[in-house]
């Protein structure tokens, strides 16, 4: 038996089920689910993992740092993390000399050798199942219907589930929920305004530190489809029934019981009789569930995504000839924006 990973995710999202039980032999259940509530957090770190408050370039004239974006059940939306740079101004005893500067164009963004990494990626999905079964033999007789009577539950909403993709990146790089890429880098041609000395261009040069964009999800959906089926297949026989859905938590038992009862009623089973048989333990819901073969509808959407994405940019400085010696200081502004 395989347990769906992070099934508790379902408990974190308030889901309202509106049961629209019809009278056909196949029942339809409409789901009105709230949008996933999640967070996207971006952070700047030193290469050692500490908080990044300021940058010192040192003798090498460049310094790497870490830009990270961490999604927790966030809706699948692209993002950009960009940087702008002011001129550097000479500072003495905490006072800026705005007449002496190193232009921002002498500074630039590059990337370290392995510029991007991704970890702990998971896709949050809402599986939908079609369930179909047939009453035969003694059970059909007990329930007062002819042997061979079919009953079905269509479009049954499974529990929201989050499947981790850890260790499965091979072949899925192009199918990540967010494909992450570093920016092309380059110099800060137009400076941003400096808080003391001003002199900004108004529209400063923005250099991309990270770019998370959508990608082709077909391979990911196929992988998730297989993962959901595998997780629900308690018996390991490559087939799933409603009892396995309940046993693995892939289906909410009370909701499935209501849908199954409605399907049986549509097939001609008296619910009064059914309740009496269940009360007498002559028939069990599990027994009925085991008759319902479950077919997973193709996964076509991600409800949300989880994952951490890292980029390793570096700030570089080229000091113009003739620059008077001294301490120069400027402001690096890093902006994160969702790009829906």
């Amino acid at each position: 038996m395989k347990t769906p990973s992070l099934r508790s995710a379902a408990a974190l999202a308030a889901v309202t089920l509106l049961l629209a039980v019809g009278i056909g032999s196949a029942e339809t259940i409409t789901v009105d689910a709230q949008v996933t509530t999640g967070t996207r957090t971006f952070a700047l770190k030193t290469l050692a993992g500490g908080g990044l408050d300021a940058l010192t370039l040192g003798a090498a004239g460049e310094r790497g740092f870490v830009t990270s974006v961490t999604d927790e059940r966030y809706e699948r939306v692209g993002y950009q993390v960009t940087a702008t740079m002011s001129n550097l101004y000479k500072v003495t005893n905490g006072t800026f000399d705005c007449t002496r500067s190193i232009p921002a164009s002498g500074l630039g963004i590059g990337f370290l050798a392995s510029p991007v990494s991704v970890s702990d990626v998971a896709g949050l999905v809402e599986p939908v199942w079609d369930l179909a079964g047939t009453l035969t033999g003694a059970l059909a007789t007990t329930l007062g219907v002819a042997s061979g009577t079919a009953f079905a539950v269509t479009a049954f909403p499974g529990e929201r589930v989050e499947h981790a993709l850890a260790g499965t990146f091979t072949g899925l790089q192009d199918a990540l929920p967010i494909k992450v890429a570093p920016g092309p880098g380059g110099s800060f041609t137009a400076p941003a305004a400096h808080p003391t000395c001003g002199s900004g261009a108004g529209s400063p040069t923005s250099r991309l530190l990270m770019n998370g964009t959508g990608s082709n999800l077909a391979a990911l959906f196929t992988w998730l489809q297989d993962a959901i089926m595998t997780a629900a297949d308690v018996g390991g026989d490559a087939a799933v029934d409603a009892a396995e859905l309940v046993a693995t938590g892939a289906a909410d038992d009370p909701t499935l019981a209501a849908a199954t009862r409605a399907a049986l009623a549509s097939a001609g089973v008296s619910l009064t009789l059914l309740d009496a048989l269940i009360a007498a333990n002559t028939v069990t819901m599990t027994q009925l569930y085991e008759l319902l073969d479950a077919t997973l509808r193709p996964v076509t959407a991600l409800v949300g995504q989880t994952g951490s994405y890292l980029a390793l940019p570096k700030l570089t400085l080229s000091i113009p000839d003739g620059t008077p010696p001294g301490t120069y200081r400027g402001t690096l502004t890093v902006t994160q924006v969702d790009v829906p």
Partner: protein, 215 residues
């Protein structure tokens, strides 16, 4: 919009300016860094999460768009945040270039925020009213950003660091009376309200979104 309606809208906005709402902190659908977060408010309308503001290019005369930005403090210390509209444009390599504070454009000039800065107590949040003046319509494809900016780091090195979270403001171009997504996927929820009646206040719009849903 009648003069009385316009007056009511104006009154509503003034009220919103004065009554900065401080609520318990929450993080639904929020973009954040380690210190603060920002999101359109409400963050979900008619079941659709919002990651940007979608503004129609044209509305009936006399109508302005009222919106809100929620900001919150994730730390155990009080923080001061600057909040301002600025330019946004699609630059080379499809980089969205977010301007400095004070950068302006025709769309930016139409955006007014009730506050330019806010001090948040530990783990508190605040909702800042925003108005987009719509007279004459907005040029198709216009783009701007609402920026929430933390204080500069107090480092002693050559570079101070400033972190910003930006929320895009897009002219959606949706036709009034329909609910549809813009090309980028932002729900054109404002059109829902416009299709029903005049925009008067956020509270009214939320009511529409909650009861009428997509038109």
């Amino acid at each position: 919009m009648s003069r009385r309606s316009a007056g009511r809208a104006r009154t509503t906005f003034v009220t919103a300016c004065i009554s900065l709402v401080v609520l318990a902190s929450g993080t639904a659908n929020a973009g954040q860094n380690e210190t603060f977060g920002a999101e359109p408010f409400p963050s979900v309308i008619a079941g659709e999460a919002r990651r940007a503001f979608a503004v129609p290019e044209r509305v009936a005369p006399g109508i302005d768009i009222e919106e809100s930005v929620r900001v919150y403090n994730r730390t155990d210390e009080p923080i001061r945040l600057a909040i301002y509209p600025t330019t946004a444009r699609l630059g080379d390599d499809e980089v969205i270039e977010i301007g400095d504070r004070g950068a302006t454009s025709p769309l930016v000039e139409r955006i007014t925020l009730a506050r330019q800065s806010v001090v948040l107590q530990p783990h508190a949040d605040a909702t800042i009213a925003m108005r987009v003046t719509m007279a004459g319509g907005i040029a198709p494809g216009s783009l701007a950003a609402i920026v929430v900016q933390g204080a500069p780091s107090a480092g002693s090195a050559e570079f101070d660091l400033v972190q910003r979270i930006a929320i895009l403001v897009r002219a959606s171009g949706n036709a009034a009376g329909r609910t549809e997504r813009s090309a980028g996927g932002v729900p054109g929820w404002l059109d829902v309200a416009i299709g029903v009646a005049l925009l008067a206040s956020y509270r009214w719009r939320r009511h529409v979104a909650a009861t009428a849903g997509p038109v």
